[in-house]
C-alpha cells in the first residue's frame, strides 16, 4: 500500500515539476478554454434572456475541449524519449502508472477550471455560487480525466493520436456532460443540494465505474 502511494506520488510530482518548468499544458489549455467561452458567446448571440440557457453548456464545452487538449499532452510527453517504456520497466504495478498520470491531469484541469470559472461567471453576469458549483466541477472533472487518461494512453499509441482522443473520449463522456450541464444550470438558477442530487449521483456513479474499469484495463493499453 505504501509502495502504491510512493509510486503514484513520484509520477504525479514529476509531472508537476515538469509543468512548473514549461507551463506548457496549463497555458495552452487555459487560453484555449477562454477562447471557447468567447467564441461560443458569439455563436449563440447570448443576450440577457438566453444566458441562463446556454451558459452552462458553454462552460462545459470549454472544459471538455480544453481537458482533451491537456490529456493529449499528458501522454505525448511520455513518448518523447520513450519514457513510458522507462516507466513500464519500473517494478510497480501498471495501475500505479495510471493513477499517477490521472492525478497529474486531474490537478492541471482543476487549476485551469479554478481560473476559468470566475472569469466566466463575471463575463456572463452570473451569480457566484462557489460550493455547489465547485463540487460539480470536481466530480465531473474526475470523470473526464479517469476516462481521458485511459484513452490518452491509448491514442498516444495510434497513428493519428490527435484525432483519436476526441473520437474515443467524447461519446463516452456524454453522461457526465449531460449531468454536469444540467446540474450547473440548476445551481446558476439558485438550486439547492436537493435539486442537483440526482445529477451528482449520476456523475459519482460514472466516476466509480470508470475508475474501476480503467484500472482493470489500463495494462492492456500500455503493454507492447
Amino acid at each position: 500500500m505504501k509502495g502504491l502511494f510512493t509510486g503514484v506520488f513520484a509520477i504525479f510530482w514529476k509531472d508537476i515539476l515538469s509543468e512548473l518548468r514549461t507551463k506548457e499544458i496549463a497555458t495552452s489549455v487555459l487560453v484555449f478554454a477562454l477562447l471557447v467561452v468567447v467564441i461560443f458567446n458569439f455563436a449563440f448571440e447570448s443576450g440577457a434572456d438566453t444566458i441562463g440557457l446556454v451558459a452552462p453548456g458553454i462552460l462545459w464545452v470549454a472544459f471538455a475541449f480544453a481537458g482533451m487538449l491537456g490529456l493529449n499532452r499528458a501522454f505525448a510527453t511520455e513518448k518523447e524519449n520513450s519514457s513510458l517504456e522507462g516507466l513500464m520497466l519500473c517494478p510497480v504495478e501498471r495501475h500505479v502508472i495510471y493513477l499517477g498520470k490521472l492525478a497529474g491531469s486531474f490537478t492541471f484541469m482543476l487549476i485551469v477550471e479554478a481560473i476559468i470559472t470566475p472569469i466566466f461567471l463575471v463575463l456572463f453576469n452570473l451569480p457566484v455560487c462557489m460550493p455547489r458549483l465547485g463540487i460539480i466541477i470536481v466530480l465531473a472533472t474526475l470523470g473526464f480525466t479517469s476516462v481521458g487518461t485511459l484513452f490518452s494512453a491509448l491514442s498516444a499509441n495510434t497513428k493519428a493520436r490527435d484525432i483519436m482522443l476526441p473520437i474515443l473520449f467524447l461519446p463516452i463522456i456524454v453522461p457526465v456532460m449531460i449531468a454536469a450541464v444540467k446540474a450547473t444550470g440548476l445551481v446558476l438558477d439558485g438550486g439547492t443540494w436537493g435539486d442537483i442530487s440526482t445529477w451528482l449521483q449520476i456523475i459519482i456513479a460514472f466516476d466509480v465505474i470508470f475508475l474501476v474499469v480503467s484500472l482493470l484495463v489500463f495494462e492492456f493499453v500500455i503493454e507492447e
Binding site: T6, G7, E80, G86, L89, E223, E224
Partner: protein
Amino acid sequence: MGESGLSSTTWAIEAYGLAKSFGNTRALAGIDLKVRKGDHLTVFGPNGAGKTTLIKLLSTLTKPSGGSALLDGLDIREAPGQIRSRLGVVSHSTFLYNNLTVSENLRFYGRMYGVTNLEQRIREVISQVQLESRLHDQVGTLSRGMKQRVAIARAVLHDPLIMLLDEPDTGLDPHAIMMMRDVLEPFTSGERTVVMTTHNLERGIEFADQVVILHEGRVAYQASGQEIDTASFRETYDRCIGMSI
C-alpha cells in the same frame, strides 16, 4: 548435487523455446539461451533479427507468445515485478524527461524503484558517469552522449543484478562511444550479468564471454568462452546472415 538444485543459482538467464509473434509476423521463433551469473552475452544480428524483441521479452515489457524464460530463477510470466527490480535497462532511447534536471530524473526513477538512501546513491552514480557538473542542468540541454550517460546512471541506480543493453551506442559519435564504454566499464565488470545487443562486431566480441547471432528470429550461431573464434568472426557472422559465401 542435482542439476535442478543448481540451476537457480548458476544461471542468471534461461530461455526455453522463447517465441514472440506480432499478429502474423513472427519476431522470435523459439530461442534457447542460458547465461551464467556474471557472464557477458552479446547478441548480434541485422535489423529485424529479433534482438530488440528478445530484450523486450527479457525485460517483461512484452509477453511471450510461446516458450518461457527465467531471470534469476524467476519466471517472466509469473513474477514480472520482482524481475523488473533486478534489471537495469539501457536502450537507444534514454527514457529521460527533457524538462527535468538530471538530478530530478534520477530522483524520480529512484523513487519508482524504491531505492533507499537515494541522495547518496545519486551522488555515487553521477560521479561514476562523470557528470557531477551537470547534475542540475535540464536533460534537454545535454548532448546526446551525455544523455546516454545519464541513462546509464538511471539504469544502475538500484544496483541491478542483470543489465540489458539494447544497442546502447546507436546514434552516438565515435568520441561519445569511447566515453560511454569507459563509463560502462565499472558497471559491467564484477558480479553483474550483462546482455548486450549490437551491430558492432569488434566491440561486441571484446566484451563477450558468450555470443549469439540471431537471424530472422532464430539462433543462427552460438558459442561461449574459448570456442569463440575472434579472428574469423566476421566471416562466421556473414555466413550466418547469408550475406556472403
